[in-house]
Amino acid sequence: MATAETVLQIEGLTKIYRSLFTPMGVKAVDGLSLTVRRGETYSIVGPNGSGKTTTLKIVLGLIFPTAGSTTIFGKSIAELSVRERIGFLPEDAYLYDCFSGEELLDFYAGLFGYSKQRRSALVEELLTLVGMQANRKVPFRECSKGMRQRIALAQALVNDPELLILDEPTSGLDPAGRHQMTLLIQELKRRGKTILLCSHFLAEVEEVCDRVGIMYRGKLVAEGNLSELAGEPEEVVITFRGLDRLGPDAIGQLRDRIRAAGVEIASKEALAEGEEGPARPAPSAVALLDSAAGEIRLPRAVEGKLWQVLQAVRDAGGEIVEITRPRPSLQDIFVRAIREEPQ
């Protein structure tokens, strides 16, 4: 249900593309519902063809839905007052390529009816924000991918939008460019912008987003903040050191002591080499020893034996460095969500 804090509301959105060759149509978006709240950064993630860009295009009124509705600030995108308050960064920075960044920003600012004086001030401010002052006169077609993306982001900001819609903002950028773009998005977030971001670069999403919706085959298959999506940690990781200087038998002794404490354990190296049977992932009740990394991974099912395992490490001559409960990465969550979907 929409509230005063709701910036974007999508309800039961469906888009079916029909053509001569596909009279039944191809469902690009299938009953999608989601809400983006004021001040948050929401990311739609999903593999190519999952319906992310189609969703954004419907939200922006560039294409029309087969069913369902979208509202921004409680109104239809057809209303111009809504478009006064949003900014859009298209994927791959599609702007007129024979103009410079300065000319392009002046043009897009002009579409908001700003005076020449206001446009000049805005262009300066935006070029500074995206770090393009030095290259302001370079024609867009001669700009590097990173420069283009920064100009495209600047054009999305000409009206100081409350809602910023970014489609694959780091697509095609090198690691340095990706980092710069991520910093820019974080800066915009700090300035209080509501951001809807589409991406398949999960690392960047993890860095900037408050909530994530995972789309797959046009449907939202999981949604929430990262801790909600991650759920309870699956294991405890014990990091130790000092066993390697005690000689090759020390690891074997540690394994025996852990088994004696009533915990089944397999070693990562042995699993990889097939020494203890064919290589296989450790079962959910079996601890995993990685002697090279100095780690023991204790699954949730045997977490009750944590103190016994710690004692076994100490008894074997090891020193405990750290005990952590790592959360799954967005990559893990994403793969799990997709795997759980019926094929």
């Binding site: 922006l60 478009r83 859009f88 579409l111 999305a156």
Partner: protein, 299 residues
């Protein structure tokens, strides 16, 4: 009933139908964006883009070369030379203008969609009809600049020839400048009508289909008397088809004053005004329909 009255009735009826469609569409009514400023800015960037692509410069250079080459035919009498330069010059302006109109207008909107530059514009407070009108106005300015430059060169050539030949005893070279400029202006208005129609087609079809259709419309529009004559001799479906073409396709030949200019025939201003009024009404209707179609287009 005369064909001209029928055409006026047709244009007015179409305008009423289009107005009814427009008023029935709620999405058209709330606000008109920044209206004229948005249209003007889109027009300006269309012109600037055309200028930077340097296609126009190439077309102008080619036509100027053609015009200048006409001055080398000195073996004919001054009257014949004047007639030849005026007729050939105006033909060069008309043909190059039409080719330019077809290629500029056919790519105007499809290019924006294919290169996806339209996304950053339509996500701003710009109504789709403002976008269509802005692109059309931009194309009109480009065509005006090209026709004006080519006309100026033609006038320059005629003045120079007049000056050279006046020195020869008994010469009767008549540059007929008023008629030449008038013919050129009318040629420009025919381009304006044709461009509107091409923009309409481009809102619903691919670039290739638009270009093909534009050439067909140009051909039909320039031979409407012939088509009407053919229609009168036919029966049934063929007659109906020819009449539909006659009444729907603009009569571009009504804007053609090359013959009057090169043969020193007085110009019928009433007929010209009639052609302009019908052309203007036709263009307005076509642009409204184009805007309605583009409003429904998924980009």
């Amino acid at each position: 009933m005369s064909p001209i009255i029928l055409r006026v009735i047709l244009v007015v009826s179409l305008a009423l139908i289009v107005a009814a469609v427009v008023l029935s569409r709620k999405t058209w009514l709330p606000g008109i964006g920044h209206g004229i400023p948005s249209i003007w800015r889109i027009a300006k960037i269309t012109v600037a883009e055309a200028r930077r692509r340097r296609v126009l410069q190439a077309v102008i250079a080619l036509v100027v070369l053609i015009l200048l080459s006409m001055t080398f035919f000195s073996s004919v009498t001054p009257e014949e030379q004047a007639k030849m330069v005026i007729d050939g010059g105006l033909a060069a302006i008309a043909v190059s203008g039409i080719l330019l109109a077809i290629f500029v207008a056919a790519f105007l909107i499809p290019n924006e969609i294919e290169s996806r530059t339209v996304y950053a514009i339509l996500s701003k407070p710009v109504r789709r009809f403002e976008f269509v009108l802005g692109k059309y106005l931009g194309a009109l300015i480009v065509l005006a600049a090209v026709v004006a430059i080519m006309t100026a060169v033609l006038v320059g050539v005629l003045v120079a020839l007049d000056h050279l030949i006046k020195d020869q005893a008994g010469s009767v070279f008549n540059p007929n400048l008023g008629s030449v400029v008038f013919a050129s202006v009318m040629s420009y208005f025919s381009l304006a009508v044709l461009t509107a129609l091409i923009v309409l087609i481009s809102t619903v079809s691919s670039t290739t289909m638009t270009v093909i259709s534009a050439f067909i419309i140009w051909g039909v529009g320039s031979a409407q008397s012939l088509i009407y004559g053919l229609a009168e001799k036919q029966v049934g479906a063929t007659k109906l088809l020819l009449l539909v073409l006659y009444y729907l396709v603009p009569h571009l030949e009504n804007f053609d004053y090359r013959f009057q200019a090169s043969n020193f025939v007085p110009i019928n201003l009433v007929a010209a005004a009639g052609a302009l009024i019908i052309g203007f009404g036709y263009t307005v209707v076509v642009l409204v329909v184009a805007s309605v179609f583009f409003s429904d287009r998924q980009v």
